[in-house]
Amino acid sequence: MNETITTENSHVPDPERWVDQYGDYLFRFALSRLPDSAVAEDLVQETFLAALHARENFKGRSSVTTWLTGILKHKIIDHFRKESREQPVEDVESFAASLDDLFDEKGKWKIGPSKWTVSPLELYEQKEFWRILALCLSELSDRLARIFTLRELEELSTKEICKVFDISATNCWVMLYRARMLLRGCLEIKWFSPKIYEDK
């Protein structure tokens, strides 16, 4: 596949060539937000169509990639919104129960977190880490994984997240707490503990 992206100057290039130029990038972006190839493909398609119709609005103040990515982000959030209407609401009680596995009756850690001696940059550069993070995210419920992704990757405020999923702020904080607890537990087992034994 031709990976080179031709110079992005102020004018919008030939729409028919967009798919070749930006399709793979947008597809990867969509997949990093929602691990479902079929949906990701649809969202990329919708993004191109929306961009085609909004072509005149593109002022060339940002790169074409940035512009298309912005449209795609909205498509992704829209998708989450529609989908969340059909999803069952999280069972808050089962979370309370799963917390009991982590803490004793006095509320102390049963198994304390270990020390993760890695910098954010080092972590970012580890391809394997992102693979395992995706794996850990896939073990969460869809809704939980999406709320977490919107919060940490997209940096949406909890207020915005509440609107997308039509939940209360308190519910949102609880869900984020739940997602973080489950993820850090999963990462500790699947990523960090094996590392401790491998390295020195």
């Binding site: 596949m1 990976e3 729409p15 028919e16 967009w18 798919v19 070749d20 399709g23 793979d24 990038y25 597809f27 990867r28 972006f29 997949l31 990093s32 190839s37 493909e41 990329v44 398609q45 191109f48 169509l49 085609l52 119709h53 990639t65 917390l99 982590l102 803490f103 006095k106 509320g107 102390k108 850690w109 304390g112 977190p113 270990s114 020390k115 993760w116 890695v118 910098s119 954010p120 940059l121 972590l123 970012y124 880490f129 992102w130 919060r151 940490e152 990757l153 997209e154 940096e155 909890t158 702020a169 904080w173 984020l176 707490y177 973080r180 607890m181 993820l183 850090r184 990462l187 500790e188």
Partner: protein, 90 residues
């Protein structure tokens, strides 16, 4: 070894919440006192911050040129076709 007001279960929830909103002063103080004495909750907090920072780096650099993940030829064709249809209609 009692940790003043809050136990680890409560503190982990508050630490998580502190990443999403500004907590009232008494809670922030409560967290600080607890973290000062509790190695595990301090590590927990550092883990969450590390994860957040790494993810923010990721959001800024999604572009993985040469990544093996690409649109399938079928999807590419389908998208192009819908694109051209839409272009002709416009």
């Amino acid at each position: 070894m009692s940790h003043w007001m809050h136990n680890c279960k409560e503190v982990t929830r508050m630490v998580s919440e502190s990443l999403d909103r500004k907590l009232p002063l008494h809670q922030r103080m409560g967290i600080r006192v607890h973290l000062f004495m509790c190695k595990f909750c301090s590590r927990y907090r550092k883990q969450l911050l590390l994860l957040r920072e790494a993810m923010r780096l990721k959001e800024r650099c999604v572009e993985d040129k040469g990544s093996p993940i690409t649109l399938s030829p079928e999807a590419r064709e389908r998208i192009k076709r819908s694109f051209i249809n839409s272009l002709n209609k416009a």
